[in-house]
């Protein structure tokens, strides 16, 4: 065993295998929603890939070795932040060995920057309250106004790693923001008849969406974040639904439909499967289609 040869052959292999510098900026995001926004801002200059698929629960993604490989090649990495991805992003970033995208480096973007998080605990809290997010609710992309801030954060990141494209990124960002403003008044118009309507949601994933569109969460199927429903909690919900005149039970497609269906049977409230992410449902291919779909589905279900 001659360790020096091992090191030498290592370096030799690495030299041979060194990749050719690719032209487009390689953006890797944790979720499809961030990928959709990055595509809007990056336009032709970027290639975007999301680690999680839209049909997956972003809290529970496997830290697959192939993801490290994707991150190793990334010029820009975008995460939602607010601890949404904390169970899986750390090992991936460390394993990727990519200095360009480590936290604090120019190629690292925390999409939640500059967004006022909802539900930041105001008093001391511990895990007896479930798997709460201490920095606030991380499901920020479900408010289109936050989408604009996420786009700004991504544009800043892109300008840092690709200053030559700055003008183009600014142009795309301005265009995206204008289109969001226009679409938002359309979406709000559609949701107006349901102002104040009460719903139950499975996980507490919808506070940004509900707040923006004037809906109210009367309860959650999970008694505490990440904790499965108990029979006593179900009994409470069965009593709550008629009392609060709950119209719909919103359900992310990756959760078991057992509890929502049971509640619907007992109370007559409607189960409304709703994709919380781009590409989680057919016809939801970009950030605008996501809200088109969500507002259409809800308007239909709550009518």
């Amino acid at each position: 065993m001659r360790p020096i040869y091992l090191i030498a052959s290592f370096l030799l292999i690495l030299q041979i295998a060194r990749p050719v510098e690719a032209a487009p900026v390689n953006v890797v995001t944790t979720t499809e929603d961030l990928a959709a926004i990055a595509k809007e801002v990056g336009g032709e200059r970027v290639e975007v890939e999301s680690l999680a698929k839209g049909v997956q629960d972003p809290h529970f993604i496997e830290a697959k070795p192939s993801f490290m490989l994707k991150l190793a090649r990334a010029d820009l990495f975008v995460q939602v932040g607010l601890e949404l991805e904390q169970a899986w992003v750390g090992p991936l970033l460390l394993g990727a060995r990519n200095g360009k995208i480590r936290s604090g480096a120019p190629g690292f973007v925390d999409a939640s920057r500059g967004i006022t998080a909802l539900e930041v605990p105001t008093e001391p809290i511990d895990r007896s309250a479930g798997d709460v997010h201490l920095q606030g609710n991380p499901h920020i992309w479900l408010d289109p106004m936050n989408g604009k801030q996420i786009a700004r954060n991504i544009a800043e990141g892109l300008k840092r790693v690709d200053p030559k494209g700055a003008a183009e990124y600014d142009r795309n960002l301005a265009g995206f923001s204008t289109r969001i403003d226009a679409a938002l008044s359309r979406w709000q118009e559609k949701m107006k008849p349901f102002e104040g309507a009460k719903v139950i949601t499975y996980h507490n994933s919808w506070p940004y969406f509900l707040k923006r569109f004037g809906l109210v969460a009367a309860g959650y199927i999970e008694p505490k974040p990440g904790i499965p429903s108990s029979t006593s909690h179900m009994r409470e919900l069965i009593a709550l639904i008629p009392r609060e005149q709950v119209k719909g039970i919103l359900m992310e497609p990756y959760f078991s439909d057992q509890a929502p269906k049971f509640l619907a049977e007992k109370t007559g409230a409607k189960v409304v499967p709703l994709p919380p992410s781009v590409s989680a449902s057919a016809g939801v291919n970009d950030y605008f289609e996501l809200f088109d779909h969500l507002t259409n589905r809800l308007a239909e279900a709550l009518r």
């Binding site: 065993m1 290592f10 690495l14 629960d57 394993g95 060995r97 480096a105 078991s256």
Partner: protein, 389 residues
């Protein structure tokens, strides 16, 4: 030779240091967590064969592992991580430095250096902390090859993620070879190996260190099936002579199925297996009574295979089969030994678990098999533990 390696590494580090632009370091609070792993056990024979230091190894209650973890980025270049173990033995408390190492964050060419005290990255099981084990006890073959605590030592590791279309990682490390966490090398439990006294061997040159080379690859067979496979080779001195050495070779395989739409991570199925072979070169020895033992080579091998089935949210069932050729001079059991285990684990949340396990343990030198039943419980407080694949 030793000096030339060190020089190469220092030079290498210096080059990288120059190549890295200075950036303002972000400061983070360290992630702090405490993991407690306890068990209650009963055995059909009090003289059983649980040799792992973190095994439930006596009738009644055992503190298997109480681990304080501190981790965080040191600066823009390094991440630091320490795992301190608190233990109880016969009513006495003790502290152990299980691991404490730094990892580089941003070397070019996919390289990474790890330095400090760390688990040797041999196979899948050896680098795992006890609370991450899928069973309540350590595998027979791992215990036989690497002792009760697993193989760990101060040293340095260089690894590279190759820029290929698929995942291929090369790992090489050099570590100290002495101490009870380096079983099979300059340490033998019981101070003799095959009748030969274990000598005190100091580090004279690079030949007195312990070297690992490992190749690890991974493929996504589909969106829901991922495979990880590896081979590991260890080479180092052993204490039965001035120039005697031990080699250990291993292969490992891990396959996981989990549908994309898994609800909180369930359902899933995993399959894992490892096989190892050791070649221990024992030196010539003249014993106190004048007996002369000539040089001899001892071979030991064994394997385990295990499968987990996460059949319902929060529930996981596991089975494991192991076999080892225990004619090993360091193993108190002799002859072929095999063991079959099954367990059922309930996870109230990600931060706690309760496990029930049954072992059927059969070795050639005993007429009766040993039956063992464990109840294991774990709690984690503090920072969210990262889930590695």
């Amino acid at each position: 030779m030793m000096r030339s390696i060190l020089f190469a590494l220092i030079l290498f580090g210096a080059i990288l240091g120059i190549a890295l632009p200075a950036r303002s370091a972000q400061t983070f609070n360290p992630e702090i967590s405490l993991d407690g792993l306890f068990s209650a056990a009963t055995f059909s024979d009090p003289d059983h064969l649980q040799f792992g230091a973190h095994d439930p190894n006596k009738r009644g209650f055992t503190l298997q592992n109480l681990e304080l973890t501190l981790a965080g980025n040191v600066d823009p270049y390094f991440r630091g991580e320490a795992h301190l173990i608190f233990g109880l033995e016969d009513g006495e408390s003790f502290i152990e430095v299980e691991e404490a190492f730094l990892t580089t964050l941003s070397l070019p060419y996919g390289l990474q250096i790890m330095g400090g005290q760390f688990f040797t990255r041999f196979g899948r099981q050896n680098p795992l902390h006890p609370h991450a084990w899928d069973f309540a006890d350590q595998n027979i073959i791992n215990t036989l090859m690497f002792g009760g605590d697993g193989l760990r030592s101060p040293g340095i590791q260089l690894s590279a993620l190759l820029p290929l279309p698929f995942y291929l990682e090369l790992i090489g490390s050099a570590q100290n070879a002495e101490g009870e966490t380096a079983t099979s090398f300059l340490f033998a439990p019981g101070e003799t190996f095959a009748g030969r006294p274990i000598l005190e061997r100091d580090v004279h040159d690079e030949g007195d260190l312990l070297y690992l080379s490992r190749i690890k690859t991974s493929l996504d067979l589909s969106e829901s099936v991922t495979l990880v496979a590896g081979t590991s080779h260890l080479f180092g001195p052993n204490g039965t002579g001035e120039n005697t050495s031990t080699r250990i070779h291993g292969v490992d395989l891990f396959v996981k199925w989990k549908p994309l739409t898994a609800d909180h991570g369930w359902p899933f199925v995993t399959f894992q297996g490892e096989a190892m072979r050791r070649s221990y070169e024992a030196g010539e020895a003249t014993l106190d009574d004048g007996t002369v033992l000539s040089g001899e080579k001892f071979k030991t091998d064994g394997f385990y295979i295990q499968s987990l089935y996460g059949f319902k949210r929060r529930w996981v069932a596991g089975i494991r089969y192991e076999q080892a050729d225990a004619t090993d001079p360091v193993d108190p059991a002799s002859g072929e030994r095999w063991r079959a285990s099954s367990n059922l684990t309930f996870y109230p949340s990600e931060f706690s678990k309760i496990r029930l396990q049954y072992n059927y343990d059969k070795s050639d030198d005993r007429d009766d098999p040993i039956h063992a039943v464990f109840i294991q419980y774990e709690f984690l407080i503090g920072a969210h533990g990262a889930h590695t694949f």
